[in-house]
Amino acid sequence: MKLWKIALIGLGSVGRGVAQVLKDNPQFIIIAAADSKSGVINPSGLDIEVLLAKKKTTGRCGDPKLSAARIAAEADYDILIEVTPTNSVTGEPALSTIKTALLRSKHVVTSNKGPVSLASAELLGIAEEKNVGFLFEGTVAGAVPILRGIKYGLAGNKITALYGVLNGTCNYILTRMEGEGLTYEQALAEARDLGYAEADPSSDINGTDAAIKLVILANTMLGMNVTLADVNQTGISGLTVAALHMANINGQSIRLIASLNPEKNTLEVSPRLLPKDNPLVVSGTLNAVTVETEYAGAITFIGRGAGSVETASAILADLLFITDKYDR
């Protein structure tokens, strides 16, 4: 069995999940890792327990002189896993890290939405030219295999429309407003306390996070060529408890829905009314995507849209896709 050498860039929630998932997998060794302040390389494989313990106690995984950029450019890995924070404006520094790896004919797997939403065509182009994989299942709906589901599961079907609950934080807030009659502010505070919302939750709440995922779906799965600016975007901060109450009386729920129609070339993220029994009306932090197809009718994918090992699950699937398809 071939041993695949991994460079892991980012050791936050997702990065640690990846390390955990790979720890017991004999097919992979992590030969390099980096966080925002340091990096470490060991060609014969890092001890993951030691790595995570050091990161936990010191806040650093390695040598401050060894940066992620240097690892991407110099280390002898087969696959680079990029799991640093999303920068939706420039995609950097992840975009450069990914480019460096692809240009060196290395496979890349990422859950970072920035580079994929901004430059998927370019990055996929380089990957194709170099005959390597560039995979990003974790960027949309976390553990839910929506990209592979569309590309392979529904291969050959024309997609006429897509609707998704793509932001777990918003879905949690709406679920609590609906179920417990909490105000928007109360539900948001609760989401913060439970760690579902970031200290600055604005990109979740105003629909940007869902819009970025919609752009990734549009460009990489539906043959569209759009940017974040093309998404007609309304968030949930203006919603009232009365609105959820009125919807409820009517047998409906309100969810933040990201939708696109490839024929009309329209992309929208906004709170919408749905019948309560619509499969998209999921609870808590779950994500859901319904794809309307030519032959298969409507198909809905539901599952965990975030989380450490949940997102690592999507990354593992990407890794196994690479080991299956390529022999180097």
């Binding site: 309304t234 919603l239 009365a242 009125m246 009517n250 409906q252 919408r272 009314l273 619509n278 998209l280």
Partner: protein, 179 residues
């Protein structure tokens, strides 16, 4: 909708119309002519010489039967003949959608919002419910619109969205399609 040998045949539906005619000779004909030209059957006409609208026009209530899809065409033809269609029987408005509006709905003249939708005549607001916590706070309204068909509903939604944008109302609409 029935299918006869591959041709889609629309079944006729009954529709009640209230028309306003100018009080001058030949006006009843101006109303009847487009109706028969379009192939609608007149079921009843009630035309009382002594009931007049506020602006002095004659009121004629008429029930016809015609293919549903041709109703907008008939209404256009009537308007060209200077016959105003002031009401369409709601029981024949087959397409229903619910909306929720949030914002300073009363301050921004709710009647105007409703009128702008009703003005098109092929769609109307049939139900309106308002929750207003305090005068200074934003209120929430549920609005049901009925329309003659999908296309007319589409127009009503466009108007509603325009009004919402102008008046800074947050509009929540139903997801399209029958997922």
């Amino acid at each position: 909708m029935k299918r006869i040998r591959g041709i889609r045949v629309q079944k006729n539906v009954r529709t009640s119309l209230r028309l306003e005619l100018k009080d001058k000779p030949g006006q009843l004909l101006a109303a009847i002519e487009p109706i028969s030209r379009i192939g609608a059957n007149v079921i009843t006409i009630s035309h009382q010489r002594d009931t007049k609208s506020q602006n002095g026009a004659l009121i004629v209530d008429i029930i016809i039967s015609l293919p549903e899809a041709r109703l907008p065409e008939l209404i256009d033809a009537l308007r060209k003949n200077e016959v105003a269609v002031v009401r369409i029987g709601t029981e024949y408005l087959t397409c229903t959608k619910t909306f929720i509006l949030i914002g300073h709905i009363l301050h921004t003249d709710l009647t105007d919002t409703v009128n702008r939708i009703d003005k098109a005549n092929v769609a109307e607001v049939t139900e309106l419910q308002l929750i207003m916590p305090k005068v200074s706070e934003r209120s929430t309204a549920k609005l049901t619109i009925k329309a003659v068909g999908e296309a007319e509903m589409g127009n009503a939604i466009t108007i509603l969205k325009e009004v919402s944008r102008e008046k800074h109302l947050l509009i929540i609409d139903e997801i399209a399609g029958d997922l």
